[in-house]
Amino acid sequence: MTMKRVLVIDDEDVVQEVIQGCLEDVGGWETLLAGSGSEGLIIATNELPDVILLDVSMPDIDGVETFQKLQENPTTKDIPVVLLTAKIQPADRDRFSQLGIVGMIAKPFDPIMLASQVAAMLGWEFETI
């Protein structure tokens, strides 16, 4: 089984680091990091990760717009996307669920469970390392 490759798009450095820790050191996945939506689009197109973890609130292009751009691009439209969000209002939730993502994970999340939650959303087999 090849190693899963996850693209993390988040504007906060520390959050990137932490997520990287959760995924690589707990899930054993390879992570690709992007600090903005535009950066993320480029990497996604080039690297074709297995899944993208996408932060919603970013300056410049926000998560929703980034997701729409991913969908428009035939290369990337089939890559499953999981939204990471600090917004927990029901209105926001409804809006996100309309988009076509595979799932949402709220911040702050349980670092140990992050990878397994993602795997579950995608239907992967998972074992912590």
Binding site: D13, E17, G21, I88, K107
Partner: protein, 1155 residues
């Protein structure tokens, strides 16, 4: 003779050349018209017409002496006809040419009468040949003229053939009824017989002028019918010749005339008198004339009647034409026959006319006799009046009435004419056919009145009739074209044309009308007789009528006189009645006046007082009073007028008995009570006493009735003596009582009205106050109020509601308000409202109103049902609140919370994540990683702390719960303190801090200012490159609005006032701030570059906190920057208050602080 034609046209005939001025012929008689142009008769020697010495060449002429019948003269053309030359014939005897038998006849006739043998048929011997000739023989002086023409046997000469020839024409002539028919017939017969192009019949007038009365012609020729010739055209001598020579014939105008030889008679030595000669040569003039008219052959026959030349038959042909002797004879005969018939026809012509006149007369006279008056009868039928005498115009002057009918001169002229005629003429009829010649003034109106027939009906000027005839020229028409003339050049005068003839004739007949016929004059006379007869008859009738009238008048007079007596009697009676009436009227008037006085007032007391005093005065009663009957039965006198000397009863108490029930009842029925004398024995004694008490001798009581009840009594007393109350007095008082009743009623009504009015006024005032209260509530309320009916239709909005919604009162009514709402909200809002309203519940809802300018106001609408006193729903009352501001604020708060939530969760995510991994032993084998996780947790915790602090700070500042405690601070101290706090930070970042402290007192909360300064310095350091400098300076500035340091803030509290302030400045050399963000960076969580700032530990609230602090100090904070070069942050602080006035002096006197 050469003649030049300008226009060759057959223009007519000329009977004779105009030889007026032939010197030889001076016996012209009528031809003395000197207006004619002189025509020179050049005829090669001025030969007279009757002895030209020439013949026409269609025969030969022999002059014979008597009794030998030897040939003395002969025409030169004998060779052609007789085969002998003239010299061979001269001096021969006739018997050498013709046989003895014929000679014998001639000789016989010479003794007798020639006329019977002409024409003769002669055989002339000529050297053995015999030729037959038609001969004409006549005497001429002492000689005998024999003219021979060759016989052309056209007509078989037997007795009956002639008869056959003439039978039919004569028949026709006899059948002809009128003269015109006869002439036309003649012309046709002649033309048919001889076949000439034109045959005309002339008739001569009494004055000698001629007119063509009948004509038969070839179609292409111009008509000459109606052409008039002046008498001058036919000289007398010519006329004589016409009388002698009935028929003249020129077969060819261009004939070569044949001279006689010898020219003069050898015996008489004179020229031959050829008057009766048929072959006689024609004068040059005549020939010219005929040629001019294109006539080549001509024949004329004289019509002689009563030894006068009645007229002529004239025949023309355009080419030479020879008519045989027989034919000529036939025509001559017809001419004679015609003459015979003339007489009868002429009479007939006239006869018809006379009959016509007679019938007009009878109709006319009938009409006049039946007419109301003579004048109208005369003028009733204008045409008849004129036709009576054949006139064109008439004027009637009868019974002072004057009228002109038809074509007459002007009225004034006619009147003058009448005067003139009367002076001229005493007869009953005056007539003329040439009025202008007698009365020169008439020349002015010659067109209408050249002929005048005046009939005077009565010798006095009052009655006459004038008839007028127009100038003859007016009545004569000639169909010829006068413009086509022949002009003759040469020495001749060019007057040889029918047009000229016509003109000449016109000249002749100028100023004359057609002459009056005898029958016409008779007609007029008959009229006069008829009028006179009628008038006489009418006079007679009048006389009779008069007699009758007189009788009638006498009768009428008798009747009238009788009637008059009757009237006188009635009149006397009437007068008496009138006087009585007058008296009554006078009294009524008085009463009326009194009544008016009474009615003038609405005040009861006034009414009553007026009534009693007036009545008292009028009746001369000693006392008059009004007695009021109260509802409980009692009564008292309430008004009184008493003559002096008698006691007043105004407050007298009337005992019960005086006014018992029965009496009251009778008064109620309207009965009056009149007492003549107290002591008349009919009154109860107690009453008598009572009356005596009040000094009453006689009384009269009239009830005053109102609304079917007895209001009171009007009472008149006589105290001095008994009084017989008169009927009229009683009647008047009754009327007065009625008037009073009305007046009283009015007065009571008036009182009531006044009451009601006062009540109404009170109610109105109350209402007005209530209205004002309502208005103050509704109109000025700071909240929108509206009212709906039961169906939810809006019926009222207050001004505030209208302002919020952006509609007028009228626009909002009914469902109008809905138009102003946001379409997205309306449906849901109404749905919810209806649901609540159905349950009669209160309702709260929110809806947006969209104004016309597009602005949107969020509104909260509340309604509650309104119930009437009977608990019926009458509608809803509602309020409208503009919550746009609070919405905005709420929205901002939501956003703030949203952002804060995010800002909190982000470090928490990092902390939880890092610590979680660590705690789970993920990094047990990776200590470096583990340390890193702890590091993350630590820094993020700090971040959280800072954030929480800032949020709380800002919250406190914004909420206003914390009022900063301001005091006098030294600006330098503050600056140094903040620099101190930042020193380590600056060193770490290799930034040089430069500070220029200012020793000026400011009014501020020191900690907050230090916080502000440190924040700004921190920012400056954060965004500067290592090695660069950050400066902190301050300066003292004056107040005033001239130079506002911050261009975007013009209503600065400090800077607008004249107080001084301190301006702080933090300048860096950092990367700068884009211009569009210079304002926004002071907002919450607004960073130029978020991630970068966060890395540097920024919370995003620093500048917002600074702004809040400075604003609370009443100062301003702003930034200026140039990208890439650096930024400069400014803020101002006020000076301490007690120093502010001295601030000016402070500046002036002292050196500025900070030196």
């Amino acid at each position: 003779m050469s003649v030049v034609w300008k226009q060759h046209v057959e223009t007519g005939i000329s009977l004779f050349p105009r030889t007026n001025k032939l010197p030889i012929q001076i016996d012209m008689g009528r031809n003395n018209n000197t207006n004619q142009k002189t025509i020179k008769a050049i005829d090669g020697g001025c030969k007279p017409i009757h002895s030209p010495g020439l013949i026409q060449p269609h025969g030969v002429l022999l002059v014979l002496n008597e009794p030998e019948l030897a040939i003395q003269q002969v025409s030169r053309n004998t060779l052609q006809f007789l085969g002998l030359r003239p010299r061979e014939l001269l001096n021969k005897k006739l018997e050498e040419l013709i046989d003895a038998q014929q000679i014998e006849i001639i000789k016989q006739a010479l003794k007798d009468n020639f006329e019977r043998i002409n024409p003769l048929v002669l055989n002339v011997k000529n050297q053995g040949n015999a030729a037959i000739f038609n001969g004409t023989i006549h005497r001429s002086g002492k000689s005998i003229i024999l003219e021979l023409e060759p016989k052309i046997a056209e007509i078989s000469s037997n007795f009956f053939s002639f008869y056959h020839f003439v039978k039919a024409p004569i028949d026709q002539m006899q059948k002809a009824r009128t003269l015109d028919e006869l002439c036309q017939l003649m012309a046709r017969e002649i033309r048919n017989t001889i076949g000439f192009d034109r045959v005309m019949i002339y008739r001569f007038d009494r004055d000698g002028s001629g007119v063509v009365v009948a004509e038969e012609k070839a179609e292409h020729l111009m008509p000459l019918l109606g052409l008039h010739y002046p008498a001058s055209d036919i000289p007398k001598s010519a006329e004589q010749l016409y009388m002698m020579n009935l028929l003249r014939f020129i077969p060819d105008v261009n004939y070569q005339p044949v001279k006689l030889t010898p020219q003069r008679n050898p015996v008489t030595k004179c020229p031959l008198d050829m008057s009766l000669s048929v072959l006689r040569g024609v004068s040059h003039y005549h020939i010219d004339y005929l040629r001019n008219m294109g006539v080549a052959a001509t024949m004329t026959i004289s019509l002689i009647r009563d030894r006068q030349l009645w007229g002529m038959i004239a025949c023309h042909h355009q080419t030479p034409k020879y008519i045989s002797y027989e034919m000529r004879t036939f025509c001559e005969f017809l001419g004679r026959a015609m003459v015979l018939e003339l007489g009868a026809k002429q009479e007939n012509q006239d006869l018809d006319y006379q009959l016509k006149l007679k019938s007009i007369q009878s109709a006319f006279f009938e009409a006049i006799s039946q007419a109301d008056n003579l004048f109208d009868g005369l003028i009733a039928d204008r045409d008849r009046l004129l036709a009576l005498v054949g006139a064109q115009g008439a004027a009637v002057y009868v019974e002072n009435r004057f009228v002109c009918l038809g074509q007459t001169p002007a009225a004034a002229d006619v009147r003058d004419l009448m005067v003139w005629v009367e002076n001229q003429n005493q007869q009953d009829i005056f007539y003329t056919d040439s009025l202008p010649k007698l009365y020169p003034k008439a020349e002015q109106f010659k067109d209408v009145a050249s002929g005048l027939l005046l009939l005077s009906i009565a010798k006095i000027r009052q009655h006459c009739i004038l008839w007028f005839r127009s100038e003859r020229i007016q009545t004569v028409t000639w169909k010829g074209n006068p413009n086509q003339q022949v002009t003759v050049e040469g020495d001749r005068n060019s007057h040889l044309s029918p047009h000229n003839s016509f003109e000449l004739w016109q000249e002749r007949v100028r100023l004359t009308s057609l002459p009056w016929k005898q029958c016409e004059i008779d007609s007029a006379r008959e009229l006069r007789n008829a009028i006179v007869g009628i008038v006489l008859r009418k006079a007679d009738e009048l006389a009779q009528t008069k007699v009758q009238l007189e009788v009638r008048v006498a009768e009428r007079t008798a009747d009238l006189s009788q009637a008059n007596d009757q009237l006188q009697y009635e009149l006397a009676q009437r007068q008496r009645a009138e006087e009585a009436l007058y008296q009554q009227v006078e009294r009524e008037r008085l009463i009326g006046a009194i009544a008016q006085h009474i009615r003038e007032s609405l005040n009861l007391t006034e009414i009553l007082n007026t009534a009693v005093s007036e009545v008292q005065a009028l009746f001369q009663a000693d006392r008059v009073l009004v007695y009021r009957v109260w509802s409980n039965g009692t009564g008292s006198a309430i008004a009184e007028a008493t003559a002096p000397g008698w006691i007043k009863v105004l407050d007298f108490v009337f005992p019960e008995e005086v006014f018992p029930e029965e009496i009251r009842q009778s008064y109620l029925e309207g009965r009056i009570y009149a007492l003549t004398d107290r002591d008349n024995g009919e009154i109860l004694p107690c009453l008598v006493d009572f009356l005596a008490q009040i000094q009453v001798r006689a009384k009269l009581v009239i009830p005053i009735i109102q609304h079917d009840s007895l209001w009171g009594l009007l009472i008149a007393h006589q105290c001095s003596q008994p009084r017989e109350w008169q009927a009229w007095e009683i009647s008047l008082l009754q009327q007065l009582a009625n008037q009073m009743a009305i007046a009283i009623q009015q007065s009571e009504l008036y009182q009531k009205l006044q009451e009601e009015l006062r009540e109404r006024q009170r109610v109105e005032n109350a209402l007005r106050q209530s209205e004002a209260l309502f208005r103050s509530l509704s109109e000025s309320a700071p909240i929108g109020i509206f009212r709906t009916d039961q169906q939810g239709q809006w019926i009222y909005t207050n001004p505030r509601c209208q302002a919020i919604g952006g509609f007028s009162f009228e626009a909002a009514l009914g469902n109008g308000w809905k138009r102003f709402t946001h379409p997205e909200d309306l449906e849901e809002f109404c749905h919810q409202w209806e649901a609540a309203a159905a349950e009669n519940q209160e309702f709260v809802g929110e809806i947006r109103f969209v104004r016309r300018d597009g602005t949107v106001r969020f509104c909260r609408v509340r309604t509650a049902p309104v119930f009437s006193a009977m608990d019926d729903l009458t509608g809803h009352v509602g309020t409208v609140e503009d919550i746009t501001e609070s919405q905005a604020i709420a929205q901002m708060k939501n956003e703030f919370i949203s952002i804060v939530s995010h800002e909190l969760r982000t470090p928490l995510t990092a902390i939880r994540g890092s610590l979680g991994l660590l705690a789970n032993g993920v990094y047990d084998q990776k200590p470096q990683r583990g340390k890193r996780m702890l590091e993350i947790a630590a820094t993020q915790t700090d971040r959280l702390v800072r954030l929480v602090n800032d949020i709380l700070d800002l919250g406190r500042l914004e909420s206003g719960r914390v009022t900063l405690a301001k005091q006098n601070c030294d600006a330098a101290a503050l600056m140094l303190q903040s620099v101190d706090a930042m020193r380590v930070n600056a060193e770490q970042n290799q930034i040089t801090l430069s500070v220029n402290p200012l020793n000026v007192q400011v009014w501020a909360a020191p900690d907050s200012i230090v916080q502000t300064l440190t924040n700004l310095i921190s920012n400056a350091i954060k965004f500067s490159e290592p090695g660069s400098t950050v400066w902190l300076t301050a300066e003292l500035a004056k107040g005033g609005t001239q130079e506002t340091r911050n261009p975007s803030q013009t209503d600065n509290a400090i800077q607008n006032s004249n107080q001084g302030y301190v301006l702080f400045q933090i300048k860096d050399q950092g990367r700068g701030i884009p211009t569009n963000k210079l304002e926004t960076i002071f907002g919450q969580f607004q960073q130029v570059d978020a991630s970068d700032s966060r890395k540097k530990g920024g919370t995003g609230l620093g500048l917002a906190i600074c702004r809040s602090i400075i604003q609370q100090h009443g100062g301003q904070i702003w930034a200026e920057s140039i990208l890439g070069e650096g930024s400069c942050f400014y803020f101002t602080l006020p000076l301490p208050p007690d120093r502010s006035c001295k601030g000016h002096q402070y500046y002036d006197n002292e050196t500025s602080a900070g030196d």
